[in-house]
C-alpha cells in the first residue's frame, strides 16, 4: 500500500532525516514514533504532498507521488491531523464536512452507521447535536476516527490519535483499528503512546 524509498526532508539548513525507507502492506497497522522534531508529522504530510521531499520517492497503492497523481492519491486517503480544530460550531457540521466533498459523494452518510461506530468507540449519540466547544479533546479525537472509518478509504493516516485518551480508551481505539485493518484498511499513525505503539503490527522509530 505504501512505499517510501530513500526519503529525505529538510527545512532550510535543517535535515530532519535522510535515507528513510518504509514499506507498509495492505491491512497493516504501523506506528511511527520518535523524539519531538524528528520528522514524524512531516513524513505523514509528505505522503499527502503537503511537505516536499528533498530526495527519494513515495508510492501509494502503486501510484507514484507526483503532480499528475496527487489528486488520485488523496482520494485514497482518510486523514486526521494532530489536535484537529476545525472552525465549525456544531459537531454535526464537523462530521459532515468530508462527506460533502466530490471525492466522497459516492459514500452515503448514515447516522445509523455513525452511531454504531460511536458505540464501538464508547461515544454517546448525543454528542452529534452538541457544540464543538462542549466536547472534550478525547471525544473529538474519537469522533474524527469514526468519521475517517465511515469514509471507507483504503488508507488511514492519523497523527497522535490517542494523545487525549486514557488507557481504556486507547485500547478501544486499537480494537477499532484492528477491525478496520481486518476489512482491508491500511493504517499509518504517529504516536508516543506506549500502549498504542505495542498494539500496532509494526513500529518505525525516527
Amino acid at each position: 500500500m505504501l512505499k517510501i524509498e530513500d526519503a529525505c526532508i529538510t527545512y532550510g539548513e535543517l535535515e530532519l532525516f535522510t535515507g528513510l525507507c518504509i514499506h507498509i502492506k495492505k491491512g497493516e497497522i504501523v506506528c511511527i514514533s520518535g523524539e519531538s522534531g524528528s520528522g514524524k508529522t512531516s513524513i505523514l504530510n509528505a505522503i499527502m504532498g503537503f511537505v516536499p521531499l528533498k530526495s527519494g520517492t513515495i508510492t501509494v497503492d502503486d501510484l507514484l507521488l507526483c503532480e499528475a497523481n496527487i489528486d488520485l492519491i488523496r482520494k485514497k486517503i482518510a486523514w486526521i491531523p494532530q489536535e484537529l480544530a476545525l472552525p465549525c460550531e456544531w459537531v454535526s457540521e464537523m462530521i459532515q464536512l468530508p462527506f460533502e466533498l466530490k471525492a466522497n459523494r459516492g459514500i452515503h452518510f448514515s447516522k445509523t452507521e455513525l452511531f454504531s461506530t460511536f458505540k464501538e468507540l464508547n461515544l454517546e449519540e448525543e454528542l452529534y447535536t452538541k457544540r464543538v466547544s462542549e466536547i472534550s479533546g478525547g471525544q473529538r479525537q474519537r469522533i474524527m476516527i469514526a468519521v475517517a472509518a465511515l469514509l471507507q478509504k483504503p488508507f488511514l493516516i492519523v497523527d497522535e490519535p490517542t494523545s487525549a485518551l486514557d488507557t481504556v480508551s486507547v485500547e478501544r481505539v486499537l480494537n477499532f483499528f484492528n477491525i478496520l485493518s481486518q476489512k482491508g484498511m491500511t493504517i499509518l499513525a504517529v504516536s508516543h503512546d506506549r500502549t498504542f505503539k505495542l498494539g500496532c503490527d509494526n513500529i518505525i522509530y525516527l
Binding site: 504530510n45 499527502m48 504532498g49 503537503f50 516536499p52 503532480e67 496527487i70 489528486d71 488523496r74 482520494k75 486517503i77 482518510a78 486523514w79 491531523p81 484537529l84 480544530a85 476545525l86 472552525p87 464536512l97 468530508p98 466533498l101 466530490k102 471525492a103 466522497n104 469514509l151 478509504k153 493516516i157
Partner: protein, 266 residues
C-alpha cells in the same frame, strides 16, 4: 434647472466645518489630527486635479482618450490594492488588473449599450462617471475580500489541508475561504442596499437631483448603479481570486507565502 456653483470663498467657508471634528480628534488625543489634515489637503488637491483633467476629457470626448483614462484608473486601483492588502506584487498585480479590466469593460458597456441604449457608449458624460464608480466599488470590495481570503487561509491552514487530505479538489479546499471573503466583502453592500432610501439618500441620486434631474430619473439611475457596482465587484473579485490562486499555491496545492514580510522581520 441648473446647479448653483460654489465660489472659492464659499468653499473655504464650508471647509471651516472641518474644525469641529478636528477639535474632538485633538481633545481626545486620538493622534488623528495630522492624518486628517493631510487627508483633507490630499482630497482638495486630488479633486482639483480631477476637475482639470475631467474638463479636458469632456472637451476631447474621444473613445481612445477615455479608454486611456480607464487604463490609468486600473493601474492606480491595482497599486492601491497592493498597498492595502500587503499581498506580494507577483501574486496580485496581473490578476487584479485583469479582474478590474474585464469586469469594468463588460458591465460598463452592458449598462451603457443595453440599458441606457446610448448611440455612442464612449460619450465621456456617461462613460467616465459610470466606469469611475465601478472602479471605486470594485477596489474596496477587492481589498476586503482578498484580505479575508488570504488571512483566512493563513490562519485556518489546518482546515484547508484537512479537506485536501481527505480528497478535496483544490477548488473545494478553497471554497470555505472564498465563502468568508464574499460574506465579509458584500455584507456591507447588501445592508446598504436593503435600507437604501430609508436611512440615507444615496450619492448618485443626490448628485442627479442637485444636477437638475427629476427624482423619478434619479431613482432609476440609482437602482442601476447599485446593480452594476454589485455585479462588477463580484465578477472582479472572483476573477482576481481565480487568477491569483495560480500564483498562491504550488502544483501540489501547498499555500506559498503571499503577504509581504514586515520590515521588522525582514
Amino acid at each position: 434647472m441648473g446647479t448653483i456653483d460654489i465660489s472659492y470663498w464659499n468653499l473655504l467657508v464650508g471647509l471651516l466645518m472641518m474644525g469641529i471634528p478636528l477639535y474632538f480628534l485633538w481633545k481626545f488625543k486620538t493622534g488623528l489630527v495630522q492624518s486628517t489634515l493631510i487627508a483633507v489637503i490630499r482630497m482638495l488637491v486630488q479633486l482639483f486635479l480631477i476637475g482639470v483633467y475631467l474638463k479636458y476629457l469632456f472637451i476631447y470626448n474621444h473613445p481612445l482618450v477615455n479608454f486611456l483614462w480607464v487604463f490609468i484608473m486600473i493601474i492606480v486601483a491595482a497599486e492601491t490594492a497592493l498597498v492595502r492588502t500587503r499581498i506580494q506584487r507577483k501574486v496580485l498585480l496581473i490578476p487584479i488588473s485583469i479582474g478590474f479590466l474585464f469586469s469594468v469593460a463588460l458591465i460598463g458597456i452592458y449598462f451603457l449599450g443595453l440599458v441606457l441604449k446610448l448611440d455612442n457608449i464612449f460619450n465621456a458624460q456617461y462613460f467616465i462617471p459610470v466606469f469611475g464608480i465601478l472602479m471605486g466599488n470594485m477596489l474596496s470590495v477587492n481589498v476586503i475580500g482578498l484580505n479575508t481570503f488570504y488571512s483566512g487561509l493563513q490562519r485556518e491552514q489546518q482546515q484547508y489541508y484537512y479537506l485536501l487530505g481527505n480528497g478535496a479538489t483544490h477548488q473545494e479546499a478553497q471554497a470555505p475561504f472564498i465563502r468568508q471573503a464574499l460574506i465579509k466583502a458584500f455584507s456591507p453592500c447588501i445592508a446598504n442596499m436593503a435600507v437604501m432610501g430609508l436611512v440615507a439618500l444615496p450619492g448618485t441620486m443626490i448628485g442627479q437631483i442637485l444636477g437638475g434631474s427629476s427624482p423619478n430619473v434619479a431613482i432609476k439611475y440609482q437602482m442601476m448603479i447599485v446593480v452594476i457596482t454589485f455585479t462588477a465587484s463580484m465578477l472582479s473579485i472572483m476573477i482576481t481570486i481565480k487568477l491569483a490562486s495560480r500564483q498562491s499555491f504550488d502544483k501540489f496545492g501547498r499555500l506559498i507565502r503571499v503577504f509581504k514580510e514586515n520590515k521588522k522581520n525582514a
